[in-house]
Every structure is written in C-alpha cells, then in structure tokens.
Symmetry: C2
Subunit: 198 residues, 2 copies
C-alpha cells in the first residue's frame, strides 16, 4: 500500500563538473536547501579524508534523504532518482545506500525498511579515523513518521552491562524506539503514519 509519500524537492544543484552524463538538460528546477548543501559538502570532505569517492550518484541519494522530513524507502529513492537519472534501477540505489551506510553517512531503520541520513555528519569529531559505525538509537514517531537519531551513552552502557552479564560480546546494536514525539504529543494528533503495528 505504499503510496502518497511526499514528493521530495530535487537534488539537482551539484557542481556542474560532477555531473555524470550530458543527458541532463533538466532545467534545474529544484534546488537543495543551504543546510543540505552544507551537509553534502561536509560528507564529501569526509569521504576525501577517507580516500573514498562521493560520486554524483551517491551525493544525489544522500541529498534526497537530507531533504526529506522522514525516512525514505529504497524504491522511494529510486523513483525520485529516476526523475533525473533515466537509467536508475534498484541496484543503483542499493549500491549508493550500501556505500553511505558503510561510511556512516546514513542509517537503515530496520523496522521501516527505510533509510535516513546521519545527523552526525556535521559535528563529526568522528572525522579522521574509521569509526563510521557509531552507536546510534532512533526515535520513531508513529504519528508524524519522523525519526530522531540519538547517541545516548546511558543506553549503550546499559546494553554493554546486560550483554556482559550473558557473556556476550557486542559488535553492533539496532535500537529502534517507537512512540510519539514531543510535537505530536503536544498537538494531540494521533493518526498513525502507516507504520507497522506494535
């Protein structure tokens, strides 16, 4: 029943030199917000430091996520990508996502089979070394579908403690917390944003 996801404003303000094909005569309708541009540039320079390439495609996918208020599914991204990028197919998107996930520039929300850009690209003290996989937790609002990324030490410690109690060595944790965000609580709106139950 996936439908009616918001259209995202497009991505097309990349550096001209970066653009892959000459097929792109789309009249540059939709610009990215200043914030998005800044974050993309930040992500780009992180990639340079790490000796990996933030290609036009990857930047475009990252841009789509940054411009969205909520998590996007792979095929949402594909659809939006196709508007500008005729040949795009599922692997196009999944590869870009794999790269972004691998480098900690995006995260997958398992419960939603959806993806969000990492909010810590900005403040990355994480820069230099390869701690792309930081410990994160997500707050998922069932009403407005917005997702908030946390990096809460208390949760991490509690998990470490409980795991140690079972003799378990933690490598990665998926923490996805569903409920109602502060805004939706305040406004009393309660229509669920078509999230899976429970």
């Amino acid at each position: 029943m996936g439908s009616a996801r918001d259209m995202a404003y497009d991505i097309h303000a990349m550096p001209t030199a970066t653009r892959p094909t000459p097929e792109a005569f789309v009249p540059e309708g939709d610009r990215l917000s200043a914030r998005t541009e800044a974050l993309l540039d930040r992500a780009d320079s992180l990639c340079v430091k790490r000796g990996v390439r933030m290609t036009a495609l990857r930047r475009q996918v990252m841009g789509l996520m940054l411009e969205s208020s909520h998590p996007l599914r792979a095929y949402d991204l594909l659809e939006q990508l196709q508007a500008r990028h005729a040949g795009a197919a599922p692997p196009t998107v999944y590869r870009a996502l794999d790269f972004l996930l691998e480098h900690g520039l995006a995260h997958k929300i398992e419960r939603l089979s959806s993806f969000v850009p990492c909010v810590h690209v900005l403040d990355h003290s994480h820069d230099h070394d390869g701690d792309c996989a930081h410990a994160t937790q997500f707050l998922i609002c069932r009403t407005c579908a917005r997702v908030t990324e946390l990096e809460d030490g208390g949760i991490v410690r509690a998990i470490a403690l409980a795991s140690r109690g079972s003799g378990f060595h933690v490598q990665h944790s998926t923490i996805e917390i569903e409920g109602l965000c502060a805004e939706c609580l305040a406004s009393g709106t309660n229509e669920s944003a078509s999230l899976p139950p429970q």
Copy 2:
C-alpha cells in the same frame, strides 16, 4: 475439543474432506521434544485464558520454532509446514505468525527477518492480563546464529530516560544486539553464520 496434544502434529487428523491431496500418508515421523510439548501446552492454556484459539496450524508453527535452535524465516517455516500440510502457502504462515506475535508467543527479529518463540511462555507471571507485548531485547550471535531473549530492566530504564529527555513517549522498542555469544567466544570459532554485515 480434543486435547491440544491430539491436534499437535496430526494435521492429518483433519476431516477427510479438507485434505487437499491423497499424497499425505506421512507416517508421523517427527515427534516433538517433551520440552516443546510442555511449552505448547503452556501457550495453549494462555490462549484459553485470553479467550483466543491456539489452532492446530498455529500450534504447529509454534512447534517448529520451538524445535529450532535458531530463528526461522517465514519461508523456512512454510517449507517445513508443507511437509505435513500440503496446502500451506505464504499467508498460512504469516497469519499464524501474526497471531503468535500479537499474543506475545513469538517475536520477530527484524535484522534477520526471522522469528523466534518467546522464552517467557514458561514463566509467564504475565498470564492473566494482556501484557502480551513485553519489553524484550535480543542477543544475536553472528557465529552460531543463536538468539537469546532478554528482559533487562536496566536497558528499559536507560531507554525510558533517554526518550524522556527528548520529550518522546515510548510505545515499543526494538533492541537487537549482534556479536558473539559466550560459547562462540570460548571456542574461538569465528565463521559468520551468514548474517548481514556490520
């Protein structure tokens, strides 16, 4: 109705008219362990208390999970189910799973798109009321693929605290912790059990 045990695996004790094909003369090969039978009976009586029905199909699916050392995917269950239940199709399994999840008799491991029986069916002080949705956390071993269900208050409190800090009202949390279990740590084996990376 006949005792729950009668229905347990004797799917062929169904009205003849119901049976799709005559091919089904499977001679009752596989018995369930005593532990599984006990847990099934426990689950059954929980259902009675709640006024819902632990049908033969549901019991069979639950039994398959209980007999497995690791999480099973829906189509794993389907395949095993089909050995006894000729007409089984994807909805057959997903419906049974929906029921079991709804009543807290099983859990879905999102990271693995797989399902495990709830270990707390036994000690359910949870009996009477409808707290089917207890707060759980899962330890997933990347080497042996076994999953351990926890109910750790420390984790729950840490999550409540962090969420409150964001003005967020928690309804449900998905906590899936990947790493190495005590046994695999001890034995030093490290071949991954084909789990997803990171």
